[in-house]
Amino acid sequence: MRIRLNVNGNAIELESATDRTLADVLREELGLIGVRVSCSEGECGSCTILVDGQPMTSCMMLVNQGEGKEILTIEGLGTPEDLHPIQQAFIEEQGFQCAFCTPGFILSAKAFLEENPNPTEDEVAFAMSGNICRCGAYPYIVRSVLNAAEKLQAGSSN
């Protein structure tokens, strides 16, 4: 059936079987490889996207569940020339190793920091527990999110 999606600010209409996951459609039809799929069961969080600003694991969503909603993938966040402050913070603190999980962490962090712009370390660690980093960069991920919070605070007070 025809499905209308709004992805990274672009209105997109495409033909898709209704029993495909949103993650598959974003990756395979739209070429958004930053939507990483690993466990396919909503456990690892690699496929996290923001739907109307809320973090969701796109491997667990039917493509229809994205219809009429604002979808943000990592590709819509920042560009190499103009990185989002959270991306910049992840580079500074090296909040990753292999980085397969990184887009998911960054988008989880974005939703979290919008709701809680000035978090404690424990709150960050808890909020970042919906994603798995098998390489074990967790302490540096927590520091990345705290660094990003500072950057965003500084940016919003300007």
Binding site: L32, I33, G34, V35, R36, V37, S38, C39, S40, E41, E43, C44, S46, T73, I74, E75, L77, G78, T79, P80, L83, Q87, F90, I91, E92, Q94, F96, Q97, C98, A99, F100, C101, T102, P103, I106, E121, D122, V124, A125, F126, M128, S129, G130, N131, I132, C133, R134, C135, G136, A137, Y138, P139, Y140, I141, V142, R143
Partner: protein
């Protein structure tokens, strides 16, 4: 005949965790090495544009799926693919009848067998494959293949599998000859002991549980094949294809792509070989993409292991004897038996020792090397026994380790690896090496540099160990059911191996003065594309931005083992530096002759890409000018300079180890069995730290992977079929951000390795071992009982006798 090196420290930072890079810079004046530069692919990583094999596509490719064995052990008596082939969209089917019956071998005996041979040796084993226009059609076709099986007797218990009456899984038999390391006379060691302890410990199997999965895309052009896959071992994968297909190495190109977390899972795997053969059969590029369940149940895993043994010491805490028998289960296709490096060598000051390691096959998923192979099991057993001895003589665990662990200059016990550089032993290899090389090499079978001593002392101070440790088996605080205590553990590993060949690398100095390094390593998050570039940039006198590294293309990268056995910085980094040195030598010879009035090249140096007389920047010329000079030089027929190592690297198993010492505080709920990690300090001795930002991340990552093995992670095998029952992340538990202390710190030791690049050694594997032992000991101190791994809530409560 061997060189006497001075044992020196790095003269670097002292006990300033986190700011090591800055201090090192001030002290050493190195411009690139020692700095925590962001990794070169950082922007690709945070923007999601880095391509892993699962993201790779090739024009006109079709999709492959693998038929997996439903039985623990079965021979195909008849296979009918006609219904599958008739399905619309199916391009072709590959069965064992299409496959050359050659054995191929993955790095370090992680796989030995045929690609397909009509026998399934575990539930999930590869039996056949389909290529189709989509994954979905391929999967439907798989279900249409009719197979008749002769069910064979199976064995899952590795002790049962040792019996000659057990079902035989391989033509070589189920058990290898034991790998034995021995010194002195253990009966004498027993006689000298005032105290002895024994152990009989079983270790469950950890799963790599890679986040990122993997895919293999094979494309043939005429009789040449290219394989794209995520791999830590590009050239070894090429060698595997060569063995499996029997075609010349020159016709095989592996393009290894970055991998998700790997820990040894993605070296060379049988599904890659299937992709190559399937693509050949259907004459189309084929992509086989594994799903998470396949990654967790059909590729490989850590071994199941068992240690039985005893250790003894004198009343003043000198180890006198270690007598240990260790079993490892290789599953269907593993072929490994040598996992002894850590404890054999690190605790090698024991006066008498005998370690025997037995590799055994079973009808379980193939087992292979996972990060810290042997260290996390045999090593943990030895650490536990040493802890028990230290308790008997009432010694502090830090002091017991300092007293009994290896120091520079001490003899290494592991001296007889089986097969070395195609010689029967490393001694034979050494004997075959011309003396002019050996004269520059360190004395074999002696530790050249590094130890646990410095990091234990400094770590204990930083962690306030003396204040926080309350004695053996005694919690430091008790609040209702919650007991807190601290623990310390140590780990060591080799710094790469030389068994199958020497590491090489190639560099090309371009006409614009930029440098390209070609070296065969993995990119699974450990930053090799950056740290290799740092080594080359420092050696050539370039800024980091002028150096790029090709790690995965076997058509340009010379052979190395790849990124395994903590090999990348020590051996490949050595080769990268030597290759750069060779290019620099060529460059300076031309510059000295043509641009510095036939001066001595030894008087020249390069700084920021400018060639100049040492000590003076006046009259400098750029590398680019020198290279453009030789363009018109009748002797110089090329516009670039190629460098390669001019000498072989000494065999690193004979002198190099890296070390970890870690400190942890835990809280145990003695009513529920739940363990919480509260505080963490990971100390690491890897010689010079090439990139502190990268290394501290890798060290903590090792600690977290070890903590997972210590507390939660284990595969559950079905008793009837051997099938894995928790091949998913819902029931295979991985630690998350809130499960590990986010204030964890890293402290680097300051040793310097005379052979390694700029004094660096290996790094990746000691941290996981140290973590397991530290957490085990802390739990013992909290509750007064030793708990076998993983210390899940239930196993802890059982150990306390409450269930």
């Amino acid at each position: 005949m061997y060189k006497e090196f001075e044992f020196k420290s790095n003269d670097l930072a002292k006990a300033v965790p986190g700011v090591y890079g800055d201090v090192q810079d001030q002290v050493n004046g190195m411009k690139v090495v020692g700095h925590g530069f962001p990794v070169k692919d950082a922007v690709e990583k945070v923007t999601g544009s880095l391509k892993y094999a699962v993201d790779m596509t090739v024009q006109n490719m079709v999709h492959g799926k693998i038929l997996r064995c439903p039985h623990a052990h079965a021979r195909i008596t008849k296979i009918d693919t006609s219904k599958a082939e008739a399905l619309a969209g199916v391009i072709g089917v590959l069965t064992h009848h299409d496959v050359p019956q050659n054995d191929w071998e993955a790095a370090w005996f992680n796989y030995r067998g045929k690609v397909l041979d009509g026998v399934g040796r575990f539930v999930g084993d590869d039996l056949a494959a389909v290529a189709a226009v989509s994954e979905e059609v391929a999967q439907r076709a798989i279900e249409l293949i009719d197979v008749e099986y002769e069910i064979l007797a199976a064995v899952f218990d590795f002790e049962e599998a040792r019996s000659p009456d057990a079902p035989q899984i391989r033509v070589e038999g189920n058990e290898r000859d034991p790998y034995i390391v021995e010194w002195g006379d253990t009966s004498e060691g027993m006689a000298l002991a005032d105290h002895t302890v024994e152990c009989d410990i079983f270790y469950h199997s950890q799963q790599y549980a890679s986040i990122g999965r993997n895919a293999a895309i094979a494309e043939w052009m005429g009789d040449k094949v290219t394989l794209w896959t995520s791999s830590q071992t590009p050239t070894e994968t090429r060698d595997g294809i060569h063995e499996a297909l029997g075609i010349p190495l020159s016709k095989i190109r592996v393009m290894a792509l970055p991998a998700g977390s790997s820990f040894g899972q993605w070296w060379s795997n049988n599904f890659m070989m299937i992709a190559v053969l399937l693509a050949k059969k259907v004459r189309r590029p084929v992509k086989i993409e594994l799903d998470n369940e396949e990654c967790m149940s059909a590729v490989k895993r850590r071994h199941l292991e068992k240690t039985r043994g005893l250790m003894g010491c004198t009343a003043d805490g000198q180890l006198t004897v270690a007598k240990i028998d260790h079993l490892i289960d290789n599953g269907g296709y593993g072929f490994k038996d040598d996992v002894g490096f850590f404890c054999v060598d690190m605790w090698g000051k024991a006066l008498h020792g005998h370690y025997a390691i037995h590799g055994i096959n079973t009808n379980l998923l193939t087992a292979g090397c996972m990060r810290g192979v042997g260290d996390c099991t045999l090593g943990a057993s030895v650490e536990r026994m040493c802890n028990q001895l230290a308790e008997k003589v009432d010694m502090d665990p830090v002091e017991f380790r300092i007293k009994n662990q290896i120091k520079p200059g001490d003899e290494l016990r592991m001296q007889h690896s089986r097969d070395n550089m195609h010689h029967d032993s490393v001694e034979e290899y050494l004997a075959a090496i011309p003396e002019e090389y050996r004269d520059e090499w360190p004395k074999p079978f002696h530790l050249l540099s590094g130890s646990t001593e410095e990091i234990l002392r400094r770590g204990a101070k930083s962690f306030r160990w003396a204040e926080r440790w309350n004695g053996w088996g005694k919690p430091s605080s008790v609040d209702g059911p919650r007991h807190r205590a601290v623990g310390v553990g140590t780990g060591a590993h080799v710094c790469g191996v030389e068994f199958e060949g020497n590491a090489s690398a190639m560099v090309r100095l371009n006409p614009d003065g930029s440098l390209k390094v070609h070296c065969s390593v993995g990119r699974q998050g450990q930053g090799s594309e950056t740290t290799q570039a740092q080594v080359a940039a420092e050696e050539m006198g370039l800024s980091l931005s002028m150096v790029e590294v090709e790690t995965g293309d076997t058509d340009s990268c010379p052979w190395s083992h790849g990124s395994l056995a903590s090999n990348t910085m020590f051996r490949v980094g050595w080769a990268t530096r030597e290759a750069t040195r060779d290019a620099k030598r060529q460059l300076l010879e031309i510059a000295a002759r043509d641009m510095f009035d036939n001066s001595d090249p030894a008087d020249l140096a390069i700084t920021d890409g400018q060639v100049h007389i040492k000590g003076s920047m006046s009259d400098s010329v750029s590398i680019s000018e020198v290279l453009n000079m030789i363009r018109s030089d009748t002797l110089g027929q090329t516009s670039s300079i190629t460098g390669r190592p001019a000498v072989p690297m000494p065999p690193s198993t004979t002198f190099a180890r890296h070390f970890g010492a870690q400190f942890v505080e835990v809280e145990v709920d003695v009513d529920t069995g739940k363990i919480v990690l509260l505080d963490y300090l990971a100390c690491q001795d890897s010689g010079t730290v090439i990139n502190p930002q990268v290394l501290k991340n890798q060290v903590i990552g090792g600690a977290i992977c070890g903590a997972g093995f210590a507390i939660y992670e284990h595969l559950v095998f079905d008793k009837e079929t051997g099938a894995i029952k928790n091949a998913n992340l819902l029931d295979y538990k991985l630690l998350r951000a809130a499960d590990f202390p986010h204030k964890a710190e890293v402290l680097f030791g300051d040793s310097y390795d005379p052979v390694g690049p700029f004094g660096a050694r290996g790094a990746g594997e000691a941290p996981i071992a140290a973590s397991i032992s530290a957490i085990s000991q802390a739990v013992y101190n909290a509750i007064g009982v030793w708990v076998d791994l993983p210390m899940t809530p239930e196993r802890l409560i059982r150990a306390l006798g409450k269930v």
